[in-house]
Amino acid sequence: MTKAAELAKMGEVLTNSQIGGRRNIIINGAMQVDQRNSGSSVNLANAKVYAVDRFYWIESSSETPTGQRVTDAPNGFTHSVKITNTSTTTTPSYTQLVQSIEGNNVSQLYFGNSSAESVTLSFYVKSSLTGQFSASLRNGASNRSNVSTYTINSANTWERKTITFVGDTTGTWTTDTSVGLDLIFRLDDTGGTSSLNQWTATGDAFASGSVRFMGNASATWQITGVQLEVGSQATPFEHRSFGEELALCQRYYHEQGRVETGHNYEGFVIANAYTTSAARCHYFLPTKMRAIPTFTATGSFELLGSSAGSITGIALADGGGNPSVGLNISASSITDGHAFQLRSHDDADAVFTFDAEL
């Protein structure tokens, strides 16, 4: 590139406000944060399964690929997410990796207005397969979509891809805590559209003629360095600190216990008994979550303290809360008015989860 061309490009980038402030709309684009699995392989299914934080897999039927955060990554990155096909199913309606982006985080795109901004997607991808693949943007109602393609030229080689999507000047685009925008990497589909690089009033996410991933046994597909930014130029990946990225993920999912500590006995909360069979506590979330979270307690727990009985259940109290979640601990034969520590009981995998995903 000549100096003049380089300066012109820089000018365009500056005009589009692509330098300065936060650029990447995607959370966990470098695939570093994996609260649920800590790098373990997970079986993907026809319900949302998170192979890493914020990126979920969803498919139409029960194919059995696996997803895993791995350390194979291009220069400048430490992790990628790897999808491995374990079967040769050729008839799924769809299989895809998705990041659903909260409406609050895409309001600056002005989608649905005449001044809608173009956005540019960039990412690193590697696959055992070569050819045309699909990437798309879609609104939360799945009635506005823009399907584009990228080509993997060499098998098992990291390649960087960039795609610019023009802004959608029509349609309904939410800017609240619901889904504002879905970024979709669809790897298989029985159909496919030939209306590419334009907005259509459909939920399409697959370009006709794209590689059918699920028909290739043992095929692999990896991705990292995912960035979606305002403007028509792809800028270098915006690396955020691990702590920042984790905090952004915790707006949607948080857990305590399990593999993070590896301790068989870990203190979770202090609770006080208000009857002889129940105690209450408040669990303070690290950040206000997108919605009041769903709570799960998995594993073995115990109450420490005088006359502490065995636990029969832990659930939301008085509707939960956000960012302070009320929890009710059902137990047998505890002393009313006493305070207890709730801890895991000889169980390194005991875990509290709080889920406010989209």
């Binding site: 919605a291 009041i292 769903t294 659930a315 406010a356």
Partner: protein, 57 residues
């Protein structure tokens, strides 16, 4: 989502429903009555299909 064993929980000392206990995709969970919560949204769709949430004890 495969939704099973759906039951209301009331606020202590009242008869007001405050959350739901249920099993979704094999995982027992406690779901708030928050319209923005994805599990509650799924339960409402499950109810719209003709299913019923069991009253609290």
């Amino acid at each position: 989502m495969n939704i099973e064993s759906v039951k209301y929980v009331v606020t202590y000392g009242t008869t007001d429903n405050s959350s739901i206990t249920c099993t979704i995709d094999g995982q027992e969970m406690s779901v708030p009555l928050d319209p923005a919560n994805r599990h509650y949204q799924a339960i409402l769709e499950w109810v719209a299909e003709g299913n019923t949430i069991e009253e609290a004890d």
